[in-house]
């Protein structure tokens, strides 16, 4: 199936298609969340749907190899610290996340990393090289948040995308972004 798809769709078309699917999945989740019912379940389903984009791909292709795992995990903790630092410095308290939402938020974080820094990044890198992969995956991730975040938040979202994408490229690693993203989402 994967081979047939690869034959049918040239690499740039596949990259564009995967990007569009990832953004569409995020938008569908956000629109579904506008109904105040089943929010945790909707988040969980949205996260799992994004994870499905990674099915059938080699872990190494997505940056999920097992080598240097301890360093990757510590790198993820460092990324979380960087992501949270601007909020921590001026923290005035905020709502605590209910347990069911914590699980759902973690699923969304993992799904977003697998989809944007994993699948979309790999497809764009294969088609156009690393610079487009970092910029393109960040742009797609920002677009994915356009429906859920007020406009003033989007530059911070884009910058977070660039940071996580830069890590993905510099360290050839997706474990760090996943760990950092999950910790940041659970804390904030």
């Amino acid at each position: 199936m994967k081979g047939a798809l690869a034959l049918l769709a040239p690499v740039p078309v596949r990259a564009a298609g995967l990007t569009a699917v990832a953004v569409a999945l995020e938008w569908a989740r956000v629109l579904a969340l506008r109904t105040p019912q089943w929010q945790a379940l909707t988040l969980l389903a949205g996260g799992l749907a994004l994870c499905l984009l990674g099915v059938g791909r080699r872990p190494a292709e997505l940056g999920l190899g097992r080598s240097r795992l301890l360093e990757r995990l510590i790198g993820g903790v460092a990324l979380a610290g960087i992501l949270l630092l601007p909020a921590a410095v001026r923290w005035g308290g905020g709502p605590a996340l209910a347990p069911e939402f914590a699980v759902a938020a973690a699923a969304v974080s993992v799904g977003e990393e697998i989809a944007f820094r994993g699948v979309v990044f790999a497809a764009l890198e294969q088609a156009y090289g690393p610079a487009v992969a970092i910029a393109g995956s960040s742009a797609a991730w920002t677009a994915a948040h356009a429906l859920s975040h007020p406009l003033p938040f989007l530059p911070a979202v884009a910058a977070a995308g660039l940071l996580l994408g830069a890590w993905r490229w510099a360290m050839r690693d997706l474990v760090g972004p996943i760990v950092g993203h999950v910790i940041a989402d659970l804390a904030l």
């Binding site: 360093e71 510590i74 601007p86 909020a87 923290w91 905020g94 003033p152 977070a160 910790i183 804390a187």
Partner: protein, 239 residues
Amino acid sequence: MRVRLAVLAAAVVAYAVAAWAVAPGFYDGIAPPQPYRWVSPPPQFRNSNQQPQSGHQTVKVGATGKVDPASVFTQDGQAAIAFTTGAFVTPPDRSPVSIDLRPQVVFPDPGPTHLSTNVYCVSSSSPLAAGQQILVTLQYSDQLPAPADVYGYQGSGPWQKIGNTGTAAPFYISARSDTLGCFAAGYPANAAQTAQGPRVSGGQAVPIVVALAILVVVLAGIPLAVLRRRGAGDEDEEG
């Protein structure tokens, strides 16, 4: 590798600048809701405020002769009520029950309570049945301190604390009421004050997580990097 580290460092700086420009910064797990629509916006939201919307729904009487269960929302999702089968008295002609949710411009003085949300009044064409309850859910602004409880009144008041059934979702608060009437979320006006305003609830996880992250990186990451570098050096010497 130096180029990669330089790109990474530039990304860290770019992120710090962009995230500092908005509070609280990067915010993704549970997306901040659309800006809260105020009937009477606080000064900082006056320029961008949109008027809140009302909600209306008719609920039919089921085959069992009881009013069906339903959830009724305002069009902007800022207020909702939910109820189970038979919560409303069945009209004699078994006609559908009409339910309205409306934001209120004028309401009784809440006294020592600071209201964090608009006041929403719930009305219906048939009264709530004896012993039945509705679940009132109100959204509140992510830019202001979280409310502690839902408060309500009937007629011309007074306001009474209804309670808080627990967080249904971030930036939403719920409580069960055995009467219809008007509802808002708020907290005692004498709650502790901070530089940002009253702090009523909320975790302190963020500073703790950042402190722990720094500890982990310093205590584990740096020694690991040094060991790796030494290992690489030894290999070079052996080679």
